[in-house]
């Protein structure tokens, strides 16, 4: 029973930890499917987290916070889009710039506004996305085996967690079954094919980049309004890059993206659990080894040692009409 409770607890925290990854990973999915490489997920999440916390704090409304986060992330996404699509600049350089700009600005402005070393004022109540308890969760929790699954894994998450699931469903559906999705899939592989079919490459890519911004807005909001009660300096702590790794691992597909993020969230949860714990027969497992796994797995996968992750063919390349 004790082991089961622990398992449930680990899964529960895995879900919590994977939510921002799912949003960010889907953001990367949209951007890169359209042919715009996005290593600026981290920065977009960070500005969103800050803007969300600031706006939620000022208005005492988590939803206004979310809106502000989305606006902030979309603004940064448009800078990236402008550089990558209109100016045909280097997308990697632009992504690095976005990340640094976000890290610097949020810390600077956060410190200036709140004078708490970069934190925003702690948020509570309506300013946060609190866990929603589903009907009867407390009662059902008492049922052995199934009860805790309902009470802790299905119930008990903030609205944004369910949004992450919905975003996965929507992304998978739109990419697979709609006109827009087909065009996005095509434009990242061969923009010339889209262009000669009479569809604007520029418009498609901007739309994808904006969607990426919106999703990063959700990711950032979850960090500062759901997971934590306010903004902390550099609170993304590399999650944007983990999401990027997950995207590669998922081979640029929506459902696998969600599951990979869940796996990475699980690794994180296990690492936290195992901190300082001695596992019988093995001894202490170094937490860092688990933390390094997502990165290591991505490198190994990219190098083609297990399977092959092939990015959309035109990703990273500005579209120039050729004779």
């Amino acid at each position: 029973m004790d082991i089961y409770a622990t398992l449930i607890a680990i899964l529960e925290s895995s879900i919590r930890l994977c939510i921002p990854l799912v949003f960010a990973c889907l953001a990367g999915l949209w951007s890169e499917k359209s042919g715009v490489v996005d290593i600026g997920l981290e920065g977009k999440m960070l500005v969103a987290a800050f803007a969300s916390a600031a706006a939620a704090g000022a208005t005492n409304s988590a939803f206004i916070g979310l809106g502000a986060g989305i606006i902030a992330a979309v603004t940064f996404a448009l800078i990236h889009g402008f550089a990558a699509i209109s100016q045909r600049g280097n997308q990697i350089v632009s992504g690095v710039a976005i990340n640094m700009l976000a890290a610097g600005l949020t810390a600077l402005v956060g410190n200036a506004w709140y004078a708490q070393g970069g934190r925003t004022t702690p948020l509570e109540g309506n300013a946060r996305f609190l866990p929603l308890t589903w009907p009867g969760a407390e009662v059902i929790d008492q049922i052995p085996l199934i009860g805790p699954i309902y009470a802790h894994l299905i119930s008990g998450h903030s609205i944004l967690a369910y949004c992450a699931l919905a975003a996965t469903v929507a992304s998978a559906f739109v990419l697979r079954h709609t006109r827009f999705g087909l065009r996005i899939r095509a434009v990242g592989e061969n923009p010339a094919a889209v262009d000669t079919a009479g569809v604007s490459v520029t418009r498609l890519r901007y739309t994808a980049v904006i969607i990426a911004g919106v999703l990063c807005g959700f990711a950032g909001s979850y960090l500062s309004l759901g997971q934590a009660a306010g903004f902390l300096t550099n609170m993304t702590a590399g999650k944007g890059f983990i999401a990027l790794a997950a995207l590669i691992f998922a081979k640029w597909r929506a459902w696998p993206a969600m599951w990979t993020c869940f796996l990475f969230g699980l690794l994180d949860a296990v690492a936290i659990r195992l901190q300082g714990v001695s596992v019988p027969g093995i001894g202490q497992i170094p937490v860092q080894a688990i933390q390094a796994l997502p990165y290591l797995m991505t490198v190994i996968l990219l190098a083609g040692f297990i399977g092959k992750a092939i990015p959309p063919k035109a990703s990273g390349l500005p579209y120039v009409k050729e004779r």
Binding site: R179, E189, V194, A197
Partner: protein
């Protein structure tokens, strides 16, 4: 009422005049061929018709109505479909997704998909264009990929179909099938434009043929009233006759032997099929042919840049794949190479003239000591070469890109000649070069031959081949279609060989 009437089309790309004052009338329900050498402006003209570019001047009439075609979307709207030379397909997507792209028929794919499936089935039935709609395009053979391109146009209701070099990637069998299809389409009232540089295709399938040369439309003829020889004449044109005086060749021993060479490109398609020839010291061997018939691959294989699939290359009897597999080692053995693409291969346009002057020789002892390069030695060398070859401006530190085409070519020429070749392979030495420089380059090559160097000259300019070569071989479709001497041949004869017609013409 003609299907298409183009009047006075002009298009410039910077300094290059790709189309100048082009007129073209295409009869409805016919197959109309457009021939011309690479760079004659055929593709540009068709891109204008398809809205990929807008003409600087001129008008377009489709079925008698004047139209402006500013984008492919507008071209599709007036009933024009195009099959590009490089397919505009999305490899990882299915056939149906590719056909549907841009013509989805609604925000959700499911409805349009039904419609397209039905349309594909009907087209399959009407024209014999059967295809599995759920196959992944990237996994289909090229012939079928091309079929997808044609289906894309037909599903969109195109009644004018443009095909740009459609047989470049096809086997002869597939090409035959394509031609049959084009005839069927025309007989059902569709208008087909076929762009090619292969004369036998024109003869086989078209009703009318227009010839382009250097951006201009030089003739439009009824296919039945013309002959490959006449078309070859029109295509090549009568250039200003170059005056090159050269004495008889003093032939030495065989320097370079090419022995049953077979080359496949990266897409595993055969580019050079069993080619053999020898070059002797003191001889210029001209290799004539329309661009894209395997000359480029042959040159690169000789230079060591790509590896041939089969066959041997012997330099003074030694197998180069064993003694000198890389370009650097071939240089050491005296096999030097003036590449046909000097911009991308022969030079580095961002480098100074001096730096470009040592490309390939950057490890030579004369340009430095140990790991170091000596700027002063390189500059002195370059200045000397600039004097010898009259390269202007005489500024060794000027960026390579700032030199004119002729002077850039002289840099390459100077670099290679001054490294004492035993064998020199020269690709398109005078492409994009002014008349003065052409004469200079020709004289240098003759002088080199008189000094006992074996030279392989690859050129699409027949005059150049005729006036420089001691012997001429002609390539078409990756095989040597004939060998001649300048005394025993003429432009028409060579033109036929270039077109793959091997019977001797008068």
């Amino acid at each position: 009422m003609p299907a298409i009437a183009l009047t006075g089309i002009d298009k410039r790309f910077g300094e290059v005049r790709a189309n100048s004052n082009v007129n073209l009338t295409v009869a409805s329900g016919s197959v109309h061929g457009i021939v011309g050498e690479n760079g004659a402006g055929k593709s540009t003209l068709m891109s204008i018709l398809y809205g990929f570019y807008e003409a600087d001047r001129g008008t377009i009439h489709i079925h008698g109505n004047e139209v402006r075609i500013r984008s492919p979307k507008e071209a599709i709207a007036v009933g024009i479909g195009m099959v590009h030379q490089h397919f505009m397909l999305v490899d990882p997507l299915s056939v149906i997704d590719n056909v549907m792209l841009g013509a989805e028929g609604g925000a959700l794919l499911s409805k349009g998909e039904q419609h397209i499936r039905a349309a594909l089935a009907k087209l399959g039935h009407d024209y014999g264009l059967d295809i599995d709609p759920d196959a992944i395009v990237g996994e289909l053979p090229v012939g079928l990929q091309q079929r997808v391109e044609i289906l894309k146009a037909l599903v969109r209701g195109a009644d004018i179909l443009i095909l740009d070099e459609p047989t470049a990637v096809l086997t002869p069998d597939e090409a035959e099938q394509l031609f049959a299809l084009l005839r069927t389409l025309a007989s059902q009232g569709k208008t087909v434009i076929l762009i090619t540089h292969k004369l036998h295709e024109i003869m086989a399938v078209t009703d009318h043929v227009s010839v382009m040369r250097r951006g201009e439309m030089v003739a439009t003829l009824e296919t039945a009233q013309t002959s490959p020889a006449q078309l070859a004449d029109q295509m090549v044109g009568r250039h200003v006759l170059l005056d090159v005086s050269k004495g008889p060749a003093k032939l030495g021993p065989v320097r370079l032997s090419v022995d049953h060479l077979v080359i496949k490109d990266s897409h595993a398609s055969l580019r050079v099929k069993d080619v053999s020839f020898d070059i002797r010291a003191g001889e210029i061997l001209g290799l004539a042919g329309v661009a894209g018939n395997g000359q480029k691959e042959l040159l690169e294989a000789l230079a060591g840049i790509i590896t041939p699939t089969l066959g041997r290359i012997l330099l003074e009897g030694e197998d180069l794949s064993l003694v000198a597999p890389t370009p650097a080692e071939r240089r050491v053995h005296g096999l030097l190479h003036i590449p046909e693409d000097r911009q991308r291969m022969g030079l580095v346009s961002a480098f100074s003239a001096a730096e470009s002057m040592i490309l390939g020789y950057q490890t030579d002892a004369e340009f430095g000591t140990g790991p170091l390069l000596s700027s002063s030695a390189i500059e002195a060398h370059t200045t000397k070469e600039m004097d010898l070859y009259d390269i202007r401006p005489r500024d060794a530190s000027l960026k390579t890109a700032k030199f004119s085409g002729g002077n850039q070519q002289k840099i390459v020429l100077a670099r290679e000649i001054e490294h004492h070749p035993k064998v020199l392979i020269v690709g398109q030495p005078t492409r994009g070069v002014d008349v003065g420089a052409i004469e200079f380059i020709h004289k240098r090559l003759i002088a080199l031959r008189d000094a006992g160097v074996a030279i392989l000259l690859v050129s699409v300019e027949l005059d150049e081949i005729m006036s420089l070569s001691d012997r001429i071989i002609v390539m078409c479709g990756g095989v040597i279609t004939g060998e001649r001497t300048p005394e025993t041949t003429n432009d028409r004869d060579l033109g036929l060989l270039m077109a793959g017609v091997t019977e001797r013409a008068g």
